[in-house]
């Protein structure tokens, strides 16, 4: 058991490493870089940028180094403490009193994912809270998906071919086929035209920039349900199918008949044996449900204007803000890998067959 968990965690290391490499390759993929476009934009407005300033900036961000060197420097900063951060000024440059700019040589807090060129702030600082909110939304969505899908799946299986079963099946298929952003638009439209309220955002205007408090938290809860429903629909539809199918496989088994013959009550019988077995595949599918949820949350967040990673990722990609985009994709993928690990561990704990067989899957 312990050995299995260790092995599973050990396998995460190459996975995470590969993810970081692919993310960095993505960062490097677009032709040109932010600095080039930034300087072009500056020159268009009439500002001049000194040659040596550009050269120093390029050197500072290792823009002229070969790909692998850039990657390992980035990884090095990510994993280990960088140099001390210079407190004064912004992160890219320091404004001198005569208006000229000189470079700041900031090295940042751990973990250092680089600097966002556009925001002129460290990526960690930008992504931190947004990533946290993305996680909150993803986890709540996952719980919502289960809370809705498991009872409906059980009901559909027990009442196979009833009108309710058909209704749920049809609704489920439509849910699977509807793109997330469309559902978000529909919610916005209904909120706007019927209830005359804005469905967007995660906080009311009053709490937008307020520090965390109980009131802000309840405000968050009041806004959370719309994105949760929007993001969760596709996953719920899929899970209802899985749950229903699994339970239908279990119900005709002999152990069910035996228990029934011995006079076990209907509810107790259903929940104690077949449902427990049918739940296993549900937990092992967290691995693919979670990337779907994260992926859906990105596009939903753009439409609903949520303060999560979605909108900022879109902007950073549009502006070729390389470090920010790459780090965000990496962080989102890390999230799903860790989610998968948790699901594997849960499965180990839940299913003695896997535990005793000595194999993780």
């Amino acid at each position: 058991m312990f050995h299995l968990i260790l092995k599973r965690i050990f396998w995460m290391i190459p996975t995470l490493w590969a993810i970081s490499f692919i993310s960095f390759a993505l960062i490097q993929l677009p032709p040109g870089d932010y600095l080039t476009s930034y300087i072009t934009a500056l020159e268009e407005t009439g500002e001049t940028v000194a040659e040596e300033q550009v050269a120093a900036l390029r050197q500072r961000y290792n823009l002229d180094e070969p790909f692998l060197v850039q990657y390992f420097k980035w990884l090095n900063n990510l994993l280990f403490f960088g140099f001390e951060r210079q407190e004064s000024g912004s992160y890219l440059w320091v404004e001198e009193s005569d208006g000229t700019r000189s470079f700041n040589y900031p090295w940042f807090k751990w973990p250092d994912m680089g600097v966002s060129f556009e925001w002129n702030r460290p990526v960690t600082e930008l992504v931190g809270e947004r990533l946290l909110l993305t996680m909150v939304i993803s986890i709540v969505t996952l719980l919502f998906t289960w809370a809705v899908a498991i009872p409906i799946g059980i009901y559909s299986a027990v009442h196979q071919y009833s009108w309710a079963d058909y209704t749920f099946s049809v609704l489920g298929f439509i849910g699977l086929a509807t793109p997330n952003f469309l559902l978000a638009l529909v919610f916005m439209y209904v909120g706007y035209s019927v209830f005359d309220v804005s469905a967007g955002g995660l906080f009311s205007a009053a709490y937008q920039n307020a520090p965390w408090s109980v009131a802000k938290f309840t405000d968050l809860l009041a806004h959370l349900w719309i994105p949760v429903i929007v993001i969760g629909t596709a996953g719920t539809a899929g899970l209802i199918r899985v749950m229903r199918g699994n339970l239908l496989d279990e119900l005709p088994r002999q152990y069910v008949m035996t228990a029934r013959a011995k006079g076990v009550g209907a509810w107790k019988l259903l929940l104690k044996y077949p449902v427990r077995v049918a739940l296993n595949p549900l937990i092992s599918t967290i691995g693919w449900v979670l990337p779907g949820i994260v992926s859906g949350s990105v596009i939903t967040a753009v439409v609903l204007g949520l303060p999560t990673t979605g909108p900022i990722l879109l902007r950073s990609l549009e502006n070729q803000d390389m470090y920010l985009a790459g780090s965000m994709i990496m962080a989102l993928s890390f999230l799903t890998v860790i989610g998968t690990l948790i699901s594997d561990l849960l499965l180990l704990w839940l299913d003695p067959r896997i535990r005793y067989e000595g194999q993780s899957r």
């Binding site: 099946s169 899929g238 199918r241 992926s295 799903t336």
Partner: protein, 382 residues
């Protein structure tokens, strides 16, 4: 993951009434058996017809659309969908018709307001002469599948900000939206088959490496990854290059699913007696793979491909909606939906959302066909 059995009434799959005569059944080839089994899945059959209809419209989109893509009617900007009528003041008509459609500015809000002029009717006609166009850029003609005679307008789904007929744009968009997935699937197919076959047949560390790679790729959330990849397409590319770029982007994750199916099947099949026999008589590995193993899981590949297609259609739609995928002047369903991006536009012009209905119908149809094919893929299974 998905089965359709519940959508079908139980009596439809009664083997006693639906089975073909026994002799025919026993001499049928594997593919014939699959066809028989697929036909029993009525929803899948109807969805299959729907898919064929969609692709016919996509192929002949210039003919099927009442207007040309570039036609803009500046006197009909943001016109709501025109209604088809059967009953006029003078009684029941044999063919549906539309009234003349007049636009004017609202005196206070200055928004365009449209009214039907009930004095003039235009019957809906089929094979009507309209604006001249070149079918596939080759054949010059002015024949349209349907339309109204000159002087009338036919905006069955309304018009957009430039007075372009939305139905026309959706029909032209289907050509792009439905083929992006097709090309993406073809690419995924080539990669998935090759990599899956190598992984399954050679096994050992190669298999391990490829499986880990697939695991890594699968742990990327698809939309952010697609977003990053398509954002990296150079902005100087021509529409055609962007189109093919997007298909490559979409197939970047698509091949992993197929590779897994192929690997699993090869792992199972290479232990079969006939594979051992072939290798004993001296067949090369490549020959065993192509000649003996591949036919054993062709049907599973087709199923896997059919189920990948809707994801790609949704992917293109989402990317274009965000502005990272296809861009005007290319017209796709996602590009059309981008115009419905903000809530004010949707509140004032709700008909701009209709392309979404086509996306949903297409995706549903593909899913049902895929389900039917999956049930039919193994005709020997109960």
């Amino acid at each position: 993951m998905m089965t359709t059995e519940s959508v079908m009434p139980a009596e439809n799959r009664n083997p006693a009434t639906d089975d073909p005569p026994a002799t025919e059944f026993y001499v049928a080839s594997q593919w014939q058996l699959m066809r028989i089994k697929f036909r029993k899945h009525r929803l899948a059959v109807w969805s299959g017809r729907m898919v064929v209809a969609f692709y016919l419209v996509a192929i002949f989109c210039e003919f099927a659309a009442p207007y040309r893509l570039e036609d803009s009617h500046l006197d009909h900007i943001y016109a709501p969908p025109q209604r088809l009528h059967l009953i006029a003041d003078d009684g029941l008509h044999l063919f549906p018709f539309v009234y003349a459609y007049k636009g004017m500015r609202h005196p206070e809000t200055l928004r365009p307001v449209y009214t039907e002029d009930r004095s003039r009717t235009y019957p809906l006609q089929f094979f009507v002469r309209g604006e001249p166009y070149r079918l596939w850029g080759l054949i010059e003609t002015d024949l349209h599948l349907f339309g109204v005679e000159e002087g009338g307008t036919l905006f069955l789904l309304g018009t957009d900000s430039m007075g372009r007929d939305l139905l026309t744009r959706i029909i032209y968009g289907s050509r792009i939206s439905l083929t992006v997935g097709l090309f993406g699937v073809t690419l995924s197919f080539v990669f998935g088959l090759l990599i899956g076959a190598v992984s399954g047949y050679y096994g050992g560390w190669i298999d391990n490496l490829i499986q880990r790679l697939i695991e890594v790729l699968r742990s990327f959330p698809s939309i952010p990854l697609w977003m990053a990849l398509s954002a990296s397409l150079p902005s100087t590319w021509s529409p055609l290059q962007v189109y093919f770029g997007i298909t490559v982007v979409l197939s970047f994750l698509g091949w992993t699913g197929l590779a897994r199916v192929v690997r699993g099947k090869i792992l199972a099949l290479r232990e079969e007696d006939y594979a051992t026999a072939a290798s004993l008589v001296g067949a090369s590995k490549a020959r065993i793979m192509i000649r003996h193993l591949l036919p054993g899981f062709t049907s599973h590949i087709i199923v896997s491909l059919t189920l990948t297609l809707p994801n790609m259609i949704l992917g293109e739609t989402s990317l274009s909606f965000l502005g990272l995928g296809l861009r005007p002047p290319i017209t796709s369903w996602g590009v059309l939906l981008k115009e419905a991006q903000n809530v004010q536009a949707v509140a004032l012009q709700p008909w701009l959302l209709t392309p979404a209905a086509f996306v949903i119908i297409a995706v549903l149809a593909f899913n049902f066909v895929g389900d039917g094919l999956r049930d039919a893929a193994d005709p020997y299974a109960r």
